[in-house]
Symmetry: C3
Subunit: 314 residues, 3 copies
């Protein structure tokens, strides 16, 4: 390269100026001896967990009843170490006041084993999600297609893992997990949400499910559905009050079609209700209710005789 050496001489200066900002703007730098959980390690853990939850669908093929125990046993053993290490980092970072590094490690190990112990039950729950997908989507050709190709199932699987970890009191990692699923699928489910069995999200891009949502059994959502908050309650000094229920409740057997928005912690959608596409709803409805957009809200002009594109206002 024909580099100008005088220009290159400025590099140490730039480095110095940057390092100065690491103390000046300390909150965007993480210096010190308490490393955060590693995003790469968390993703690796998730991939291993998916391999265990859906054996034969992932990396390792030609699994059969004679060899699957070795494969899964090996994965479980490895996950024990990886998860313990990352959970310990998350706990140490949260600075739980009592106890030293070794105690955090011991607590992390307990939480890890607790997560691994719930995997068999989790598989039974996911079985119902797969069933719900097959019943809910006429395009699905079978279980294999759903497990191989449906982003909704992947997002729900990751959410259910993250929700367990959150319940075990693990900080930070649950959100890292659901954000990994969000990145892959466009489906953003907060690990704190409570979601019943037989849950199915079709297509899924743009779905947002807030932290305090409560969703019953056999609920179906389509792409772009937001289950969100109304404006946040604030105290007398204007600060947001944290921890209140801010997101809607969907009872059993509710269907919400594409791009509908349902908002508010007091909004309860009664069981067997159907919320139509593009609906914007900030209050609850009784069971067996159908909500849709009024048709007259469209303006239809035509046939137009001239070329439309140059003059039409989108």
């Amino acid at each position: 390269m024909a580099t100008d050496l005088r220009l290159k001489e400025t590099l140490p200066e730039i480095t110095e100026a940057l390092v100065a900002t690491y103390t000046e703007c300390g909150r965007t730098s993480h210096l010190g001896h308490k490393p955060l959980p590693s995003r790469e390690a968390v993703v690796e853990i998730l991939v291993d967990l998916l391999e265990i939850l859906y054996p034969g669908y992932g990396r390792r093929q030609n699994l059969h009843i004679g060899n699957v125990e070795y494969h899964v046993g090996d994965l479980i053993d490895g996950l024990h170490d990886k998860l313990t290490q990352q959970i310990a980092r998350a706990l140490r970072h949260e600075c739980v006041p009592d106890g030293g590094a070794d105690d955090q490690e011991a607590v992390a190990q307990e939480k890890t084993v607790a997560l691994l112990q719930c995997l068999p039950d989790l598989r039974r729950l996911l079985d119902l999600d797969v069933q719900a997908a097959l019943e809910g989507d006429p395009v699905a050709k079978g279980y294999h297609e759903i497990i191989c190709c449906y982003p909704g199932l992947e997002a729900v699987t990751v959410y259910r893992l993250a929700h367990e970890l959150l319940g075990l009191g693990v900080p930070l990692i649950p959100r890292m997990m659901t954000e990994y699923a969000h990145e892959k699928t466009g489906i953003d489910i907060h690990p704190g949400a409570r979601i019943g069995p037989g849950f199915f999200i079709d297509h899924g891009t743009g779905v947002v499910i807030g932290e305090t949502c409560a969703i019953g059994a056999n609920v179906k959502l389509y792409q772009g559905v937001t289950l969100g908050a109304l404006s946040f309650p604030r105290d007398a000094t204007g600060k947001i009050i944290r921890g209140k229920k801010r997101h809607p409740t969907l009872e059993d057997d509710v269907v919400v079609y594409a791009n509908a928005t349902i908002l508010g912690g007091d909004t309860t959608i009664g069981h067997h209700s159907v919320i139509g596409s593009n609906v914007w709803l900030t209050h609850g409805v009784a069971p067996f209710t159908v909500v849709s957009l009024e048709k007259p809200s469209l303006r239809i002009k035509g046939p137009q005789t001239e070329d439309l594109a140059p003059t039409y206002q989108i």
Copy 2:
């Protein structure tokens, strides 16, 4: 690590409980000697195909008319083997009743060669898609920017490949391909949709194009557009009737703006029509029609004198 060995002793127990669920919930495990197509292999195949379809834009650079034949010939040769192997897996998995493993391999090879043979024509078709993008987007600085940076072109390219494979009777792999594109771009095009030349999707996140859509020539879609189904037709026993046309028809030169939703198998949007942003449409319109939202459906309050955030209901 300061692990508690008593805790670690539970790992074989967890493994055993998991393995028990592999037969109990058999549909979420894939054990046996018929491996599914590998997602990693399918993605590798797609990357090779894109390298052939847009030479010089991908991994390998400094291609020129003197060396490109070697590069492409090598890729074609490798693709022949990789595709044959994965298609054979998909066929075997579908358990086509007659014929043994070798027959499936031979059928897979035929389908592979048929796909490779249509690549030159596919390039001619994609050329029109690139042209449509340049004409449709005033921001585009040239062909290079469209091929390097436009997710819509990537999604359409993958769809056109998947659609060919589906037409050749290859199971599972077409959907794996379009889901790869969906993951990367947020654009979900079912491989079964029929889409004419000169198709352009701008921005694209959240677009869903259903299995039985029919889209004419020179159609343009923006982000968040759903071309979806009304409720699925069911038979007397309540089961979904599969195979019917459930998604809309868009004739030539139709434009659909951001986040519009068009639903139903009998919904035909006449040629040269324009469907405005956020419109929700469940019936067809004549050619040269403009559909937009009525303006009076907004409530506008203000100027407000107090601070809005704490009291405003979103």
Copy 3:
């Protein structure tokens, strides 16, 4: 493999037909000795830049005040070379008429150093974005969660880098950068947009911010918000007029809720205004205005006594 050799004999023929299309459809092939910037290299550069901007949050952990200078200095030195090389490719490709290859290299180096020099100020700006996220989202548990898990911050960070490069006159690479962020986050910010400090996008999937947007300080957007163009102005011959302001202006302290669409270059949303969820707006509003959907535009039927799903029209 049990391949049929006669079928394999067609591969050279396929290769030849493909190579013929490389000259026939020349715009979708990039042959010659002016390689484009490499997408992989640009992504690697971005990852290095993020490592510098948020030290301790990325790949390298256990950074502390005693070693961070070495780590960052090494990254800056490597970035100098990588960026110079890729910018030189972009400049050469644009065929700036005067000057040979060496001159382009020198110009590229100058632009590279200019970008690196603005990194400390960029960190100060990003510090305000992180602050805005914490204030704007009651779910956020702290800075660490925002930097580790919030896709909105990643998209805004990449946009701010790309915007700087665009201001330095670097072609193609800025758009490659924002498309990388778009792919990861579903947030599509054109590098040409102008965005003030304290910008926060929550959830983010489906957000589109057009090239000529002007956004003030402390603006907050939710998922699915489009800041787009009305139909493009065309000249007498029907060609799109490029370069005009086509996208809206949002003044300071504006909030736009999920899936709202704001269109048009003359559309100015006055400061402290709130645009509600799912609103579609093509004209400006005064400061302190609240815009929301009218409630009566919904049709609510129920309770229904029969099973809804088979008969309901979505």
